[in-house]
């Protein structure tokens, strides 16, 4: 026997072993989401059947799904619910635009100028700590029971994250990049437009995502407190009539509105900040 043969026989030919993979890693995302939803509905149905909670307060999932179809039909036939949804959508969009314009302007003031940072920022922080919902009656008395007071509250609740996102974004450029722009003799305006704003875009957009969610909250709370003909009013009326399945299904349709605004912002971010790849977790946690 040669030495090579001895060596070859001394060790086994293969030491392949299976790497452990958690079962959840093998399940596709949609399936795990669906499974969780079904599990939730089953628990809900059980709670309903053993009457853990009074049926007046908690409808069964089946009732809720049934009502989802009722409301859906009403929306599709262009009935009064569609009108209500359209009013709320207008409030949300107008509120969002105002929040973005105002928030961006103030964000640049705070993030770019020493005056803004020293004099304006403390007041903005003070305003942000106020319970903004408490301003709702004030907006109603100023702007009436129409759409304007809801838009104002929605914008008021949503604009602060845009300020924070913009200002944080303007501070995102590192020392190297700033020095590089200095060596190129860039003016303050050039540095702002060519360096600080583009680098700050991811921060700006996470501010926008926060705002997209808050603006729906603002519009609906405005409708709760200031009447009008929006979706919030439908919810309020349904709740007053103890029509809980209706409340649930209206909330679900309303959340679609919030999802849509969020999705539009996320789409715009992918389109305009193509160089910044956000992970799914990051995107979800950004809310």
């Amino acid at each position: 026997m040669t030495q090579a043969q001895v060596l070859a026989s001394a060790i086994p030919e293969q030491t392949v072993w299976a790497e452990r993979v958690s079962w959840i890693d093998r399940v596709p995302r949609w399936l795990s989401m669906l499974a969780l939803l079904i599990g939730f509905l089953i628990v809900w149905q059980i709670v309903y059947l053993i009457e853990l909670v009074s049926p007046i307060i908690l409808p069964s999932p089946l009732e809720t799904i049934e009502d989802l179809f009722v409301v859906g039909r009403n929306l599709l036939t262009g009935d009064y619910m569609l009108m209500a949804l359209w009013i709320t959508t207008q409030e949300v969009l107008l509120g969002f635009v105002i929040a973005v314009v105002l928030g961006f302007g103030l964000g640049v003031l705070v993030g770019e100028t020493a005056f803004g940072e020293k004099a304006v920022m403390p007041y903005l922080v003070a305003i942000n700590t106020m319970p903004k919902v408490a301003f709702a009656p004030l907006f109603v008395s100023w702007l009436g029971f129409g759409i304007a007071s809801k838009v104002a509250l929605a914008a008021f609740i949503a604009f602060f994250p845009v300020i924070v996102g913009t200002a944080a974004g303007l501070h995102a450029a590192d020392q190297n990049a700033r020095m590089l722009f200095k060596t190129m003799g860039a003016s303050r305006w050039q540095t702002l437009v060519q360096l600080k704003l583009p680098i700050g875009m991811p921060h700006f957009f996470s501010g926008l995502k926060n705002a997209a969610v808050l603006v729906v909250v603002g519009a609906v709370v405005g409708e709760f407190l200031g009447g009008g003909k929006g979706f919030g009013e439908l919810i309020r009326v349904a709740a007053a009539q103890l029509n809980t399945p209706r409340v649930f299904s209206l909330i679900i349709y309303l959340s679609l509105l919030g999802l849509a605004t969020f999705w539009i912002v996320a789409w715009a971010q992918r389109r305009f900040v193509f160089w910044h790849k956000e992970s799914v977790t990051e995107e979800t946690l950004a809310q």
Binding site: D174, N176, A177, M179, L180, F181, K182, T183, M184, G185, A186, Q190, Q194, L195, P198, I199, F274, W275, H276
Partner: protein
């Protein structure tokens, strides 16, 4: 034999003729706020087509000196003159490069390279420089990457693009602040040889700040050794290894002697 010229207040080493491009006389810097004297009187003359390095311990005022030379900071005393004109701020004939490539991810490689032109002369002028930028990409070996975004470039490739961006304004002097120290050692050696090739091809006047003694020696005609704070030149060492240098020269006894000489200066400084 290497010619080693001793210099108390660094005297420009003999044997290096050529027109002085960048001259500093009695330049010092004191930070009034913290009452720190960062830089003692420094005299320096960079001659056309030469490569000079500055080496010294951390906090010896190297970066301060470089910022003064780049026109990013005024000196507290002394004069700073490039091509006969005093440096009173950033200038297009000063090219600069940092440890980080700092390419902007929303611009293609080509757009990054013409950025200095766009900032100084506007978009139209930048577009007119696209051909020249492509030639520079050829020069640094990045041909075909002009429309690629920086996220697809490796560290070494990004620094090559940064070299192009520095060269696009056709600067009279190149100021390099540890340009390859973020790269791994193999890439770094390779990029240093590339840097030498580019500098020789363009007859560039180059000033390098580095922490690496072998890097300083293999690249430079003159190595200035700096003392700790307040920074001043202890010695200007002429490196007379022939050009073009190769990495093999690092095993040359002359190379070892120079490295040893610089190291002994820095070791002394460290234990002061």
């Amino acid at each position: 034999m290497a010619v080693l010229s001793m210099a108390g207040e660094a005297v420009a080493p003999v044997g290096l003729m050529g027109r002085p491009v960048y001259e500093l006389r009695g330049v010092s810097k004191t930070f009034a706020k913290r009452n720190v004297r960062a830089l003692d009187k420094v005299d320096l003359a960079l001659r056309e087509g030469t490569f000079s390095s500055i080496i010294g311990p951390s906090g010896c005022g190297k970066s301060t000196l470089l910022k003064i030379m780049a026109g990013l900071q005024p000196p507290s005393s002394g004069s700073v003159v490039l091509e006969g004109k005093p440096v009173m701020g950033p200038r297009r004939d000063i090219g600069m490069m940092f440890q980080q490539a700092t390419l902007f991810p929303w611009r293609t490689t080509l757009e990054n390279i013409v950025l200095p032109i766009e900032i100084r002369d506007g978009k139209a002028a930048a577009r007119a420089k696209h051909d020249q930028a492509r030639q520079l990409l050829d020069l640094v070996g990045l041909q075909g990457f002009e429309n690629v975004y920086p996220s697809e470039l490796s560290g070494g490739m990004a620094q090559r693009a940064a070299i192009c961006r520095m060269l696009i304004t056709e600067p009279a002097v190149l100021l390099l602040d540890e340009p390859f120290s973020a790269l791994d050692e193999l890439s770094r050696d390779f990029m240093n040889m590339e840097l030498q090739r580019i500098c020789l091809e363009r007859n560039a006047t180059t000033f390098l700040v580095t922490h690496s003694i072998p890097e300083a020696v293999i690249l430079s005609d003159v190595v200035y050794v700096m003392s700790p704070r307040p920074g001043r030149f202890i010695e200007a060492i002429t490196v007379d290894l022939p050009r073009p240098r190769t990495l093999d020269m690092m095993t040359d006894p002359r190379f070892g002697g120079l490295v040893h000489r610089i190291r002994s200066h820095l070791d002394k400084g460290a234990f002061q």
